[in-house]
Symmetry: C2
Subunit: 340 residues, 2 copies
């Protein structure tokens, strides 16, 4: 029985199986996907043949005839941003567990690439997960009407979303800085098209007003360590004693620049980051930052999307999930200069 055509190089099809078992191709298809619609002994023969031929269903053909692709697109603005590493890993694991394939696309921080990718994915994926979308609310809503979608860190009415609650963590960060004696604080903003950046700023300035301290907004800065240099210079020039950066990349970049300029952290200026990405714990000094359950966010996003795709079990799928965050204090924040 081991002598089956080892010479036939190309993958086995249901037709090969059907020929061997003397049944119709459709019977094979049913035996494999709807087992109880087929005689148990026939099924056994078919399964045996399939195993022997090392049969794997052709996903293209499956997708074409059934309409389901078994793939989910994951769109991120920048693959090399460590923030997305954990996110990608979270989606990957959860998708694989559910038998789906992940199509990862780097949209290069471009709304156009993002939009065209969505249009293409409409045919080749069953749904998409969009992280930190750069699209307008309208465009996003329109796209969501064409393909099942879950967004991450982008809240638009009508589109299921996973939101990491960094805004509320910013007030924690603010209180932390205030308790250290800081009164002149800056927010180093991220891209103008980033909703997260806007929400963080809104939360921060509201909290600042509430506490009666001054917080000014600087930037915008690109979410890369290289931008940290400009951010550091801007912060120093503005005369603040502490700053809260849009994300860890900017914060880490600031740390490097401040060190170059001989400005001590946290003695001369305190720096707070956001996301707690890879590297935040071993930079110099270690970064005080708002920790986000990023990988978990990815998993939740997948769960929400799959619930949307297979509305079987009555469990009403939530359309919005808020992930909690908390401040992780490390060495980059300290007492304000002049404080005893």
């Amino acid at each position: 029985m081991a002598m089956q055509a080892a010479g036939t190089d190309r993958p086995a099809t249901i037709h090969d199986i059907a020929a061997i078992c003397g049944v119709a191709a459709s019977t094979v298809s049913r035996a494999l996907s709807t087992p109880d619609r087929v005689n148990i002994r026939t099924r056994a023969r078919i399964e045996a043949a399939a195993a022997e031929l090392n049969y794997t269903p052709n996903s293209q053909a499956k997708a074409l005839s059934s309409g389901r692709t078994g793939a989910v697109g994951v769109l991120v603005p920048d693959i090399t941003n460590p923030f997305y590493f954990d996110l990608i890993r979270g989606t990957q694991l959860q998708l694989k567990a559910a038998g789906y394939t992940q199509l990862l696309v780097d949209t290069e921080e471009s709304d156009e690439v993002e939009a065209s990718t969505m249009e293409q994915l409409r045919k080749s994926a069953d749904g998409i997960i969009v992280a930190a979308s750069r699209l307008s609310d309208e465009a996003l809503l329109a796209a969501a009407a064409r393909i099942p979608m879950v967004t991450i860190n982008r809240d638009v009415a009508g589109v299921p979303a996973v939101v990491i609650d960094t805004p509320s963590a910013t007030s924690q960060a603010l209180d932390h800085l205030i308790s250290l004696g800081h009164t002149r604080i800056a927010y180093m903003a991220g891209p103008l098209t980033s909703q997260s950046s806007t929400l963080r700023w809104n939360a921060l300035s509201a909290a600042a007003e509430d506490r009666g301290v001054e917080v000014r907004r600087l930037g915008p800065f690109a979410p890369k360590t290289q931008s940290g240099a400009a951010a550091a210079d801007a912060a120093v020039h503005s005369g603040v004693t502490a700053c809260i950066a849009f994300n860890d990349l900017i914060a880490i970049g600031m740390l490097q620049r401040l060190r170059e300029r001989g400005i001590r952290v946290p003695e001369d200026i305190s720096v707070v980051g956001c996301d707690d990405i890879f590297g935040a714990d071993f930079c110099n000094p270690p970064l005080t930052t708002m920790a986000s359950p990023i990988e978990q966010a990815g998993r939740v996003a997948v769960s929400m999307l799959l619930a949307q795709l297979n509305p079987l079990a009555g469990g009403g799928s939530r359309s919005r999930s808020l992930m909690p965050t908390h401040l992780t204090v490390r060495g980059s924040t300290g007492a304000a200069p002049g404080t005893l």
Copy 2:
């Protein structure tokens, strides 16, 4: 003319276009893929209709009938390892430029996952790029016979490969340490299944013998920062004054552990990493490491694979590409203790 069925929600097909233009579907197909096989005016009409309907070819159908999927699988052992970030970005950019889609898969450092992924990709991808394969030479060779493949950092006769020449960089690192007065040096090994680790060790011990210094091998250690703690303890316990780690993750983890234990770097012990990943420049102290052109390696791998897929232009495709590396000296290496 703007009044075309806006209500029809599903994507346009060549049949829709054919109906509008009053030609056969095959003519549409030809007009779009073999323009000169079709009358220029007919083609113009078809193109106009296609544009108006916002037509995008269905990639599944295309793949099914043509046999080409337009996708390339990229297999990495661990998505969250920063080393692969740049690699992935390199492949992504080059693939997109060539009109291919990237299917990224995390094989979880498992040879079984790797093998089964390859089998599946055989139908859904035109070729694959395998980074740091954990498979045996035989398995890899067998797989390469079934699907066009290019490996990265894995040299097996008969399989096109991109190899980052870290082994030769290890002698540079060794000379660097020797010139600083170190004579007792350790190599903190990576996974046993990693060919890179073995090659580096071979190159290193050969060079050490040549220079007449002692280099011992410790480990193996998993390529994660967490393993750095064990590596640091092992290094300290062995009494060496310098060590060369399999990669930056281990090195950075060592840095953290040594700091915890109050052991100064580089005063008490010097540490050299490998790869120059994200974080190597801003850890504390900044890491001396062997810099690799990782993103470029990804691009080259894609080029080699595509040359293999489309052997059109006579340019004989090389089957092996060696990427140069160099030592980047930062703060984690210094004079051996006891040296003046």
